[in-house]
Amino acid sequence: DQQVKQNSPSLSVQEGRISILNCDYTNSMFDYFLWYKKYPAEGPTFLISISSIKDKNEDGRFTVFLNKSAKHLSLHIVPSQPGDSAVYFCAADDSGGYQKVTFGTGTKLQVIP
């Protein structure tokens, strides 16, 4: 039962363009969402998060959008840079701490120079 889904295993984008990575969840108890970035041979690193009281959170080139009614979130990277090439994982949690953090399967982003 995959409660957090990233349906696109890979994505290629030209440098300077926008990258949009998508994530869907099924558990309505999730109210806190995180994105992680993973380079080869390294552990994932935290990128950005959003609470369900917001519908948008921005940090530099990275913006996460949350659509609670659709149980959908997306990560926008603008402008995309070659150093952004990595695997991006979406994760979901409930702020009450009753669920463990659940990760999606990841999307491999390639930014083409």
């Binding site: 995180l34 390294e42 552990g43 994932p44 609470s51 994982f89 009450g96 701490g97 463990k100 990760f103």
Partner: protein, 116 residues
């Protein structure tokens, strides 16, 4: 230590042998997770420790897998009678605690296990 450390970084073993993987979390982090990532696949949850609560073992794939944690410090993941399908990168993560921003996890570099 500034981050989560794991040892060994690489482990090659023969099928049927037991292996032990170690994780040192960030000091003060009450929550500790183990994940594995097989080649070309996503993060697979294995086990979760939170403070003194009973661990959530729901992700352990078989009874060959077990993990322990001493208080809120070091954790070891043990795989008995290893099989080739156990080959993967085993990742450990720690976080401040339970819920919301406290669950922003800090990952170690992983242990790459190869079972021949």
């Amino acid at each position: 230590g500034a981050g989560v450390s794991q040892s060994p970084s690489n482990k090659v073993t023969e099928k049927g042998k037991d292996v032990e993987l170690r994780c040192d979390p960030i000091s003060g982090h009450t929550a500790l997770y183990w994940y594995r990532q097989r080649l070309g696949q996503g993060l697979e949850f294995l086990i979760y420790f939170q403070g003194n609560s009973a661990p959530d073992k729901s992700g352990l794939p078989s009874d060959r897998f077990s993990a322990e944690r001493t208080g809120e410090s070091v954790s070891t993941l043990t795989i008995q009678r290893t099989q080739q399908e156990d080959s993967a990168v085993y990742l450990c993560a720690s976080s401040l605690g339970r819920g919301g921003f406290k669950n922003e996890q800090f990952f170690g570099p992983g242990t790459r296990l190869t079972v021949l």
